[in-house]
């Protein structure tokens, strides 16, 4: 019948520290990072005051991300735009790449999980930087000290839900697309791919970024 490997296949092993297995999702991830890096480096050379060409397109993208962030946080949130922009662009590229025949790297729970853990570290870091270490500890008891256990639980459930939401949506879309390609390999997959790869992928990237912005906003606003 249909036999397709849903998990991530180990491509090669880095021969240090007893062998670190490198899966194909990580390799695709490297290509996405290289592609985005080269694209923005090319757009950032010889900046002109009146932008044209590639610089114009990239500035439109960055403008959109900037307004997306400051709509939620106000002007004080401008420091987090680089991180949010990076995560959002990486996720959009990683989710959409399924439409081009390469299996999306975010279908690997390790990649989704590491993005979520990194995001939670960033939220904690920006909260400590804005309010100081004591301020961050005090924020666990705001607005009522009775919610302290729930806030501690939040530290663990938030990255878990971010990771599982991203992984589950992309993996489910990937499985359905593989099944459809197995049964009806012509016209139908392209129509379904518009929903599963483009729409769902962009929505998941937007939701991940929006939730990150909201968590950071909650961490850096001072309740006076």
């Amino acid at each position: 019948m249909i036999s397709v490997e849903f998990g991530a296949k180990v491509m090669f092993t880095i021969p240090i520290l007893g062998g670190i297995p490198v899966t194909d999702t990580v390799v695709v991830s490297w290509f996405i990072v290289a592609f985005l890096g080269i694209l923005f480096w090319l757009g950032g050379r010889k900046l002109k005051n009146i932008p044209e060409g590639l610089q114009n397109v990239l500035e439109i993208v960055l403008d959109f991300i900037s307004s997306f962030v400051t709509d939620v946080t106000g002007p004080k949130g401008e420091v987090i735009i680089p991180y949010i922009g990076t995560v959002a662009l990486y996720l959009i590229a990683a989710n959409i790449i399924g439409a081009f025949g390469i299996s999306p790297p975010t279908r690997d729970i390790n990649i989704a999980g590491s993005l979520a853990v990194l995001t939670m570290f960033y939220v904690i870091y920006s909260s400590i930087r804005a309010r100081g270490f004591k301020g961050w500890l005090k924020s666990f008891t705001e607005p009522l000290s009775i919610i302290l256990p729930f806030k501690i639980l939040d530290l663990f459930t938030r990255p878990l839900s971010l990771a599982v939401r991203l992984f589950g949506n992309i993996m489910a879309g990937f499985i359905i697309m593989e099944l459809v390609k197995g049964f009806v390999p012509v016209i139908l997959p392209s129509f379904l791919s518009i929903y599963f790869d483009f729409f769902d992928g962009v929505i998941q990237a937007v939701v991940f970024s929006l939730l990150t912005v909201m968590y950071v906003n909650e961490g850096i606003e001072k309740m006076e």
């Binding site: 599982v164 939401r165 992984f167 589950g168 949506n169 489910a172 929505i203 998941q204 937007v206 939701v207």
Partner: protein, 72 residues
């Protein structure tokens, strides 16, 4: 056999997401009808709420997948 039944019962939880997103959509449509200028904000909030509600359906799917692959 029991693995299949367990996975099927776990997958029933997606009902909640369908109801939740349907309710959110109806409220969003209602409020856009009452105040069409706020339609952009309402769309953003609605999409966020729909994605959060859908996540609970994904948890159910994840439990079903874990049961199929890890229960002998």
């Amino acid at each position: 056999m029991s693995v299949a039944m367990a996975a099927g019962i776990a997958a029933l939880s997606v009902m909640g997401a369908g109801l939740g997103i349907g309710y959110a959509t109806s409220k969003a449509v209602e409020s856009v009808a009452r105040q069409p200028e706020a339609s952009n904000k309402i769309t953003t909030i609605f999409l966020l709420g729909a994605a959060l509600s859908e996540a609970t359906a994904i948890y159910g799917l994840l439990v079903a997948i874990l049961i199929i692959f890890f229960v002998k």
